[in-house]
């Protein structure tokens, strides 16, 4: 890396770390019902919402009711979005007259946005109306993020509380999260993005002349719109000259801000954050990376404050930072080394296929580790075109279970499941009853942690195997050989872990991926969320065990290192065989020269 790239990267992490304490502390006060800076303005709005909805702040829930409310709310979200997608041709704000989604695609897209995955098997600028983007997708970006954060807060309460079955009120947590955290930050961020050139309007798409007209071949069609074929069965093409192009418009910045802040990742345009209207400058680029990591980072401090020992939060953040920076280093190395097969053709330098020039290589790579370490899934470069080892980094970050900062809320509670496993394994080794944060870890906690940690991985491996023996699934691959396997493995890793990014050459808008993917997204989202709420319920009822000489301190460096090791071992044991057949084989093929 050049000197300025080091400086840019170091400065970025300093800014990120500087936000952890203020935002984390703010969220701790907010979710504990204390007065915050924004209470004078938003307090009346909050109380009005409770009155309209018939919610009482004092009406706390046990874990079953909390989980039930969460599921119920998500069902409402699903039905509404599915409905909008199926009827967008009848709804307002559709200047381009785009038609309705097919039911398979609508099902996949609705589940995708409700589960905070934002897997997109459609092309935004061609398939979605402004109404769909704004009233459908933007709203779901907010509420699916708030759902994850609320569940995380309830899990934290499970650790923090003693001898009670109550873990908070889902409706109150949702309201506070959306009103005090997501909307204000998004508003500021969206305006900053517009200042850089992100668009925000409701104009119809604009047509401009081309300076130099372009001639291209296109398949010739008969009167019925069917592609014509010649005697040998090859498609007949005709030459067409384009003298003007249509530039899509829309309310982009407002969706862009919450797309990153809520670790959603669903782009307004097909190219996502590589599109100049979504991400116009190096500054907007770094701002978007900051938004992605902002809440997952700060939640570690919220956790520390709420369990009464902020060092517990810093230990978790340390593990996340270590894994993020390590991944960044490998990706930076691989992409700088570039592709020897391309170098042989007389091309200098780094791998630029699928990347935008303005972000610089280090900036691009930082975005890619942030977006896959969290469950964001926005992309500023095309992962399919990374070098094999480079592409293995985002894939591995997703496969680890979205804990390297992780999705908003879901990253923290999945990381806590790993922490419990780490405590348990070390307890076995030294022959002590495992404890975490003063709570005894028993059979139920272990079951819930194991389910949380393994559900996505098991789903990925099984469904990828099914894809490999399904001809229609194999036919969707865009690249031959080992890379094709990587595309399918990435697709299901991304959906089961609610990431949403893709090795996008894969043609995912076919029934196989739409339907199996929907199942993977639901399993990966709701099984861990409910399991962790169940654990929170049992933890909250336990009494506090004061630390003794035999207690493993979980707020110190040795535990952070141990936790890192446990994460890497679980990840390696689960996925090494699959990774060997995909990226590693391809890397060796590339070095071998064919």
């Amino acid at each position: 890396m050049e000197k300025l790239e080091w400086l840019q990267t170091a400065l970025f992490f300093l800014v990120l770390l500087a936000t952890v304490k203020p935002l984390g502390g703010f969220m701790a006060r907010l979710f504990q019902g204390e007065r915050t800076l924004l209470s004078p303005v938003l307090g009346p709005v909050e109380r009005l919402i409770y009155r309209v909805c018939g919610v009482s702040q004092e009406d706390e829930m046990d874990w079953k009711r909390y989980a039930w409310s969460m599921i119920l709310f998500n069902v409402v979200l699903f039905i509404s979005l599915f409905g909008i997608l199926m009827t967008q041709h009848l709804l307002p704000l559709n200047p381009q007259k785009v038609p309705a989604f097919t039911w398979q695609l609508a099902l996949n897209t609705a589940i995708s946005f409700v589960t905070n995955t934002n897997w997109q098997a459609y092309v935004g600028e061609q398939a979605a109306s402004y109404f769909t983007q704004m009233v459908g997708l933007t709203v779901h970006n907010f509420v699916s993020a708030a759902t994850g954060i609320s569940v995380a807060i309830a899990v934290i309460r499970g650790f923090a509380r003693r001898r009670t079955s109550q873990i908070g009120n889902f409706w109150v947590d949702m309201t506070r999260c959306t009103l005090y955290v997501l909307v204000p930050i998004s508003l500021i961020a969206a305006l900053l993005l517009v200042s850089q050139g992100a668009i925000q309007n409701f104009s119809p798409y604009k047509t401009v002349p081309l300076v130099q007209a372009i001639t291209y071949d296109t398949p010739k069609k008969d009167a019925q719109g069917n592609s014509l074929k010649d005697a040998k069965g090859n498609p007949v093409t005709e030459s067409v000259t384009a003298k003007e192009v249509t530039i899509p418009m829309g309310p982009v910045a407002s969706q862009e801000a919450i797309k990153e802040l809520g670790t959603n990742g669903g782009g307004f345009f097909n190219a996502n954050s590589a599109h100049p209207f979504e991400n116009p400058t190096p500054f907007s680029h770094l701002l978007e990376i900051l938004l992605i990591l902002l809440i997952p980072g700060a939640l570690t401090h919220t956790f520390g404050v709420m369990v009464g020992n902020s060092r517990q939060g810093w230990a978790i953040l340390g593990v996340m930072l270590f894994l993020l920076i390590g991944s960044f280093a490998v990706l930076q190395w691989a992409e700088t080394a570039g592709n020897p097969l391309v170098a042989k053709l007389g091309v200098s330098g780094v791998n630029m296929e699928g990347k935008e020039l303005r972000f610089g290589l280090a900036g691009t790579n930082l975005f890619e580790v942030a977006t896959t370490g969290t469950s964001c899934g926005a992309v500023a470069a095309m992962h399919d075109s990374l070098t094999p080892i480079g592409g293995m980094i985002p894939l591995s970050l997703i496969l680890l279970g979205e804990i390297v900062f992780g999705g908003v809320g879901s990253g923290l509670y999945t990381m806590l499941a790993f922490a419990i496993i780490a405590v348990f394994v070390s307890g076995l080794m030294i022959g002590r009853t495992p404890e975490y944060l003063g709570k005894k870890i028993e059979v139920r906690e272990m079951w819930m942690s194991i389910v949380t940690v393994l559900i996505a991985g098991v789903t990925v491996l099984i469904v990828t195997a099914v894809a490999m023996i399904t001809p229609s699934a194999v036919a969707s691959m865009a690249n031959p050989g080992a890379h094709g396997l990587s595309e399918v493995l990435y697709a299901f890793a991304s959906m089961a872990n609610n990431n949403g990014s893709a090795f996008a050459g894969l043609n995912a808008n076919v029934n196989f991926y739409n339907l199996w993917g929907s199942l993977a997204m639901m399993l990966g989202r709701y099984v861990p969320a409910v399991a962790m709420l169940a654990m929170a319920g049992s933890l909250a009822e336990k009494k506090y065990v004061p630390p003794s000489l035999g207690t493993l301190p979980t707020d110190k460096v040795p535990f952070a290192l141990w936790l890192t090791l446990v994460i890497l071992i679980v990840g390696a044991l689960t996925f090494f065989p699959a990774l060997s057949l995909g990226p590693i084989v391809e890397h060796l093929t590339m070095l071998g020269g064919n």
Binding site: L7, I49, C53, R65, S69, V76, L77, S80, V123, E125, Q126, V135, V139, N141, T178, L187, L191, V194, I199, Q200, F202, V208, V211, Q212, I214, A242, V245, I247, Q255, N270, A274, F277, T281, P282, G338, L341, V342, G346, V347, S348, N351, M352, E353, G354, E356, L357, R358, F359, G363, M382, P388, N479, P480, A482, H483, F503, A504, E586, T589, N594
Partner: protein, 188 residues
């Protein structure tokens, strides 16, 4: 069952706040404070007609124009209606052939030495408006010959269109190809 009422009502309220008030507020403030950016950073010719966006690259292949990065958008290069990268994997034979063809096209114009990667590898959006100053410099002899201009004059023009790192440190230096070509044609 008493939680069905808040589930529906809260969803309606969030839709009003997050899907109505929030995007409309952003639109209102953005149109007032940053109208040019919010509308798409369009470039107007001398008559005031919009002739392109400074953020959306256009296709160029004539010798008299500076060439942009390759684009893999569908139907034709730099088609804004289908932003997309090539999604080609690094060992894909078709991809390597495509890059080889692009290298040859540049060599045919007299380019020698190593070629900057971004000039033969497609961008992520397919709409990347920029090339590096090195990639622009490499094309100066061809453009100069085709237009009968001096290379020095073109060097000055490229230098004038080179944007440095943002705030002196962020991202990479770059040249906006559409703006440069419009200036060459004397449109802008």
């Amino acid at each position: 069952m008493k939680d069905i009422k808040p589930a529906i009502l809260l969803f309606v309220i969030f839709t009003i706040i997050c899907g109505g008030i929030y995007p409309l507020a952003v639109t209102g403030i953005a149109q007032a404070v940053f109208p040019k950016q919010a509308k798409g950073s369009f470039i107007a010719d001398k008559a005031g007609k919009e002739i392109g966006s400074s953020l959306i690259g256009q296709p160029f292949s004539d010798a008299k124009y500076f060439w942009p990065r390759p684009s893999a958008t569908s139907d034709f290069s730099n088609n804004p209606m289908g932003s997309s990268g090539s999604n080609s994997g690094p060992t894909n034979p078709d991809y390597l052939k495509t890059v080889g063809d692009r290298v040859k096209a540049l060599r045919d114009t007299g380019v020698t030495g190593p070629i900057p990667a971004e000039l033969v590898q497609a961008s992520g959006s397919g709409l990347d408006p920029h090339v590096s100053p090195e990639a622009a410099a490499l094309q100066i002899p061809r453009v100069a010959k085709s237009r009968g201009m001096s290379e020095d004059a073109l060097k000055k023009l490229v230098a004038a269109h080179t944007e440095g790192r943002q705030f002196g440190m962020l991202g990479d230096p770059r040249v906006n190809v559409l703006k440069l070509n419009l200036e060459l044609d004397g449109v802008k």
